[in-house]
């Protein structure tokens, strides 16, 4: 009997993935005390992660046939892979946020958790949605939930309001662009459903190119790709860990994944592939350089991480721009690298309530485990060998050189060099400086929070050492661009 239920659940896993966090968010509003809400949210997110990983494994290995999931949803390789990644990151972020639950007031905690779950549901929806309109609706759900999450923090620091306003205005423009782009693209392709898009014949390439470019631009705003990332530093620079996790890690990851998915569809059409390729490559190159430069100059650890993420996002875009399965596989590996590094850095920082880089002085003595996590994240951002960051960049360079894109290899080298400077600075401060007495008393957060962060740090290294499984998953996901047939 229970086997039948499990099969039923498996067949409708995509739907569950979207609905579960939403139900969880609703539960938050009635669950009372902050700790209890956190526990419930963590359970819901963990269940989601379990379902998502099970679903992705089944879908990517072809073991589990995917049911026809109705008109609203359409499952493809990138979507399945990224949804699983997103769900795991969501579970880790929610468990990790427990330590600083009451930073913006205990009463606000359930609301913040609910918003985090909405962010998860939104981006998951964007990864599994069946047509362009639904993707936009899902993206906006996630985005507005993110704006709310930043704003909840305002009772502690009014700067959060400024960040939220910037997010709202830039994101709103992104929304208008996406909507317009979707209208143009659907008109040119004659359909807006993902299922038929992969096979559609483009009637008006110019219109379709413009539409696709606008959609990707709109998503790029939400992924914080430079030069469209003005909201990132403002929203994250002075925020609590709930925000850095929910917006900086989960939100940016979701947006990048959704962008990868959309790019996968629009680039499949040979008529417009080249234009989009150039646009993605240009955007990616700018993002790598701008993010690196800003990270080198940053004095605030949270902003530094955000800028490093911008640079990493640029690498994802460059991989996507290649348009080949190898490029998409590289992009997926980079997404994993991004998620792990962001979790490790934001989590390591939140464990000691570190905001400025100067507060890291002597951190290794105060918080050895958190310092280890930050070190792993920084090494991965540098692209140090034997970390997943190196793997992602190597795959990109390999695919890029295969396509004759030497300049992309050059950009990656620049990103790595910049990484040595900003990442090396963090490590030097943690291990080779004496603690500043002004910050010595800080810390004392709940240790439980470190668990998820250490998981991310370990993943950073473990996948760097033995990436076989991850690479296989990414490769098979990239080969299922058009969708997984039932």
């Amino acid at each position: 009997m229970s086997a039948a239920y499990i099969d039923l659940a498996r067949a409708h896993a995509p739907l569950l993935l979207i609905v579960m966090p939403l139900i969880g968010a609703a539960l938050m509003l009635v669950s009372g005390p902050a700790r209890l809400s956190w526990f419930v949210a963590g359970l819901v997110a963990s269940a989601g992660a379990f379902v998502a990983v099970d679903f992705a494994l089944g879908a990517l290995t072809g073991a589990q046939p995917v049911a026809a999931v109705g008109v609203m949803l359409h499952v493809d390789g990138i979507g399945a892979f990224a949804a699983a990644l997103l769900a795991v990151v969501a579970a880790l972020t929610i468990w990790g946020a427990g330590a600083t639950l009451k930073d913006s007031g205990g009463a606000a905690a359930p609301l913040a958790l609910a918003l985090m779950l909405c962010v998860t549901a939104g981006w998951t929806g964007a990864l599994l949605a069946g047509d362009l309109g639904s993707i936009i609706a899902a993206v906006e759900t996630a985005w507005l939930a993110g704006v709310g999450l930043v704003a909840v923090n305002a009772s502690r620091d009014r700067a959060a309001l400024n960040g939220a306003l910037r997010m709202l205005s830039l994101g709103g423009v992104g929304f208008a662009l996406m909507l317009l782009g979707a209208a143009l693209f659907a008109r040119a392709a004659g359909t807006s459903s993902m299922e038929s898009l992969a096979l559609a014949r483009i009637e008006a390439p110019g219109l379709a190119s413009a539409g696709a470019a606008l959609m990707i631009l709109g998503l790029a705003v939400k992924a914080g790709v430079a030069p469209l990332h003005a909201w990132g530093a403002a929203a994250l620079g002075r925020s609590t860990s709930m925000v850095t996790f929910g917006v900086g890690a989960l939100g940016m990851l979701g947006a990048l994944a959704a962008m990868s998915r959309v790019a996968g569809y629009v680039m499949a059409a040979p008529e417009i592939g080249e234009g989009i390729q150039a646009a993605l490559a240009g955007l990616g190159g700018v993002s790598v350089v701008v993010g690196s430069v800003q990270a080198v100059g940053a004095r605030n650890l949270l902003r530094l991480t955000a800028y490093a993420g911008v640079s990493q996002a640029g690498c994802v875009l460059l991989s996507l721009a290649l348009g080949s399965p190898a490029g998409f596989a590289a992009a997926l590996v980079q997404l994993v690298a991004f998620a792990a590094a962001a979790l490790a850095l934001y989590g390591g920082a939140s464990a000691g309530r570190v905001q400025t880089v100067a507060m890291l002085d002597g951190y290794a003595q105060r918080a050895p485990l958190a310092s280890t996590a930050i070190t792993a994240g920084a090494l991965s951002l540098m692209g140090a060998p034997l970390t997943i960051g190196f793997l992602g960049r190597w795959r990109l360079v390999e695919a890029g050189v295969g396509a004759g894109w030497w300049w992309a290899a050059g950009l990656i080298i620049i990103a790595s060099l910049a990484g040595v400077f900003y990442g090396g600075r963090l490590i030097e401060r943690m291990y080779f400086r004496r603690a500043n007495s002004a910050y010595a008393g800080e810390g004392g957060v709940w240790r439980v929070a470190l668990g998820p962060v250490l998981v991310a740090a370990i993943a950073t290294i473990a996948w760097g050492l033995a990436p076989g499984g991850l690479l296989r998953a990414a490769t098979s996901a990239s080969l299922m661009l058009g969708g997984i047939s039932p």
Binding site: P385, L391, A409, S416, G424, A466, G468
Partner: protein, 495 residues
């Protein structure tokens, strides 16, 4: 199978050593015992491995497979085994000396210092045994990171910027130059494995070979090729045990080993394609040698003088390796000169820096002008100092002489007389900055208030110096067997 275990041990022992030292910093006796004991063990493993290589055995260990067709792997070959024996052997002497110095000078955080020395030794051993470019890159970065705390050890306003310059130069050059070269090699050959005869042989055109050679040579900044040498003078502020590790036993030799490995195992016969770059680099290196020897002359502080002096010696290694561009037997002669030079450099430089360390520890003197007459009160230490100076200068029968001889023969014999000339001028300049110093220390009148401490130099401080000095004599009998031992490296792939 036992060879694999020995290889594993020689790489792993220093890690355990460092961990144990950090866990058991007190009592000092136990700490030093661990330090010396593990160093002995590593040296024993290295000798065992060299013996295995001499008997034609092979061993390869794969620690991880981070990329689909690239392993993190270490393997034994004649070059690596020889370097490991020399460096870990001298490492034992250094371990004894370091134990003496941290006691005599009451260095702060001695356990950390010794632990990172052990890690640096691990790094250079890994460099020597690396089986492919990727593993070399990883070991190189690890060595950089392990040596960084040595430079930063004092943690004061002087040490911190120095350490930052050290890290920035080494990491930036390896990522900015070496990594692109590695990627390029991978794109051409589809593999990164070191192999006799060269991975690139027969696969590159002249343009690619020239650019790649420049990228590789500049990328291995540990060899102190100008303008990538900034890290070496920057590091000269560290405590003496750290300096021995950086300038004589780990960082600087790793650069030489790297250049030698790249020229032999990556380029091999493809060096013929890179004539222009090689000649340009030989000019750069030759002028660098002369400049370094001149700058050394201008330095009053013994640590800075030795830093520039060893830089000139390290550049001789690079010059020898680059002579492999020449056709015929002289290529092998150049490579052999480079290998000998690494050995000679390690012996002589460790002797000199240890002697300077002993002097500083018990007399508190670090200015060269204060060295006058010290040889009269510290005869053993300064006998070692004089022998090592003679070796650096290239006076027979000490180790440096054989290396210089081969180098100059190789250069002159193949028509690059000017290269031989540059090397000779550098040798003369080395004489001017070390010769009078050593002579003055031995011949001048003894100072009356030499010792800071009444008991003079302990055996821990004097014995390693004189034993390391004795090692510079070893090439007198070992040069031929070594040539025999190393011949498989270039016999197959000699241009």
């Amino acid at each position: 199978m036992t060879v694999e275990i020995a290889l594993f041990c020689v790489l792993g022992a220093p890690l355990v050593q460092a961990a144990l030292i950090l866990l058991l910093p007190k009592p000092p006796g136990l700490r030093d015992l661990i330090h010396i004991g593990f160093s002995l063990f590593a040296a024993g493993c290295a000798i065992y491995l060299a013996n295995a290589v001499a008997h034609g055995e092979t061993a390869r260990i794969v620690l991880a497979r981070p990329l689909p067709n690239v392993d993190l792997a270490f393997a034994i070959d004649p070059l690596g085994a020889m370097m490991a024996v020399v460096l870990t052997g001298l490492g034992v002497l250094h371990a004894v000396h370091a134990a003496g110095v941290v006691r005599a000078k009451q260095e702060k955080a001695p356990a950390r210092l010794l632990a990172f020395i052990a890690l640096s030794m691990c790094g250079v051993t890994a460099v020597a045994f690396s089986a492919n470019l990727f593993s070399f890159f990883v070991a190189y970065q690890a060595l950089t990171l392990a040596a960084f705390p040595l430079v930063a050890h004092r943690g004061d306003e002087e040490a911190r910027p120095a350490a930052r310059a050290f890290l920035a130069t080494l990491l930036a050059s390896s990522i900015g130059f070496f990594l692109p070269a590695m990627i390029w090699t991978y794109a051409i050959a589809g593999a990164l494995d070191f192999q006799a005869g060269g991975v690139l042989a027969g696969r590159v055109d002249a343009f690619t070979a020239n650019v790649l050679l420049v990228l590789y040579v500049l990328g291995i900044a540990m060899a102190a090729i100008p303008p990538m040498h900034r890290w070496l003078p920057a590091s000269s502020n560290g405590p003496f045990p750290a300096l021995v590790a950086i300038q004589a036993l780990a960082v600087l030799p790793a650069g030489g080993i790297g250049i030698l490995k790249v020229v032999t195992f990556v380029f091999g016969t493809a060096m013929e394609q890179a004539v222009i770059a090689a000649q340009a680099l030989i000019v750069l290196v030759g002028l660098g040698m002369i400049a370094a020897a001149l700058i050394a002359l201008s330095k009053e502080d013994i640590r800075e003088r030795l830093a520039y002096s060893v830089m000139a010696q390290s550049l001789a290694v690079v010059m020898g390796a680059l002579l492999a561009v020449l056709p015929g037997e002289y290529a092998a002669a150049g490579l052999f000169a480079a290998a000998l030079q690494i050995v000679a450099l390690a012996c002589a430089a460790s002797t000199l820096v240890m002697a300077a360390g002993t002097t500083a520890a018990i007399t508190g003197r670090t200015k060269v002008s204060d060295y006058a007459g010290l040889g009269r009160v510290m005869p053993w230490t300064f006998a070692g100092f004089a022998i090592a100076s003679a070796s650096m200068i290239g006076l027979p029968p000490f180790a440096g002489a054989w290396a210089k001889l081969w180098l100059i023969t190789a250069a002159a014999g193949s028509g690059l007389v000017w290269a031989a000339g540059l090397a000779s001028v550098a040798a003369i300049l080395t004489f001017t900055h070390l010769g009078p110093l050593a002579a003055n220390a031995l011949a001048a009148r003894a100072p009356t208030d030499a010792f800071k401490r009444p008991d003079g130099a302990s055996i821990l401080l004097a014995a390693p110096v004189i034993l390391a000095a004795a090692a510079t004599l070893s090439l007198l009998v070992l040069a031929n067997p070594l040539a025999e031992f190393l011949s498989p490296i270039w016999a197959r792939g000699a241009p």
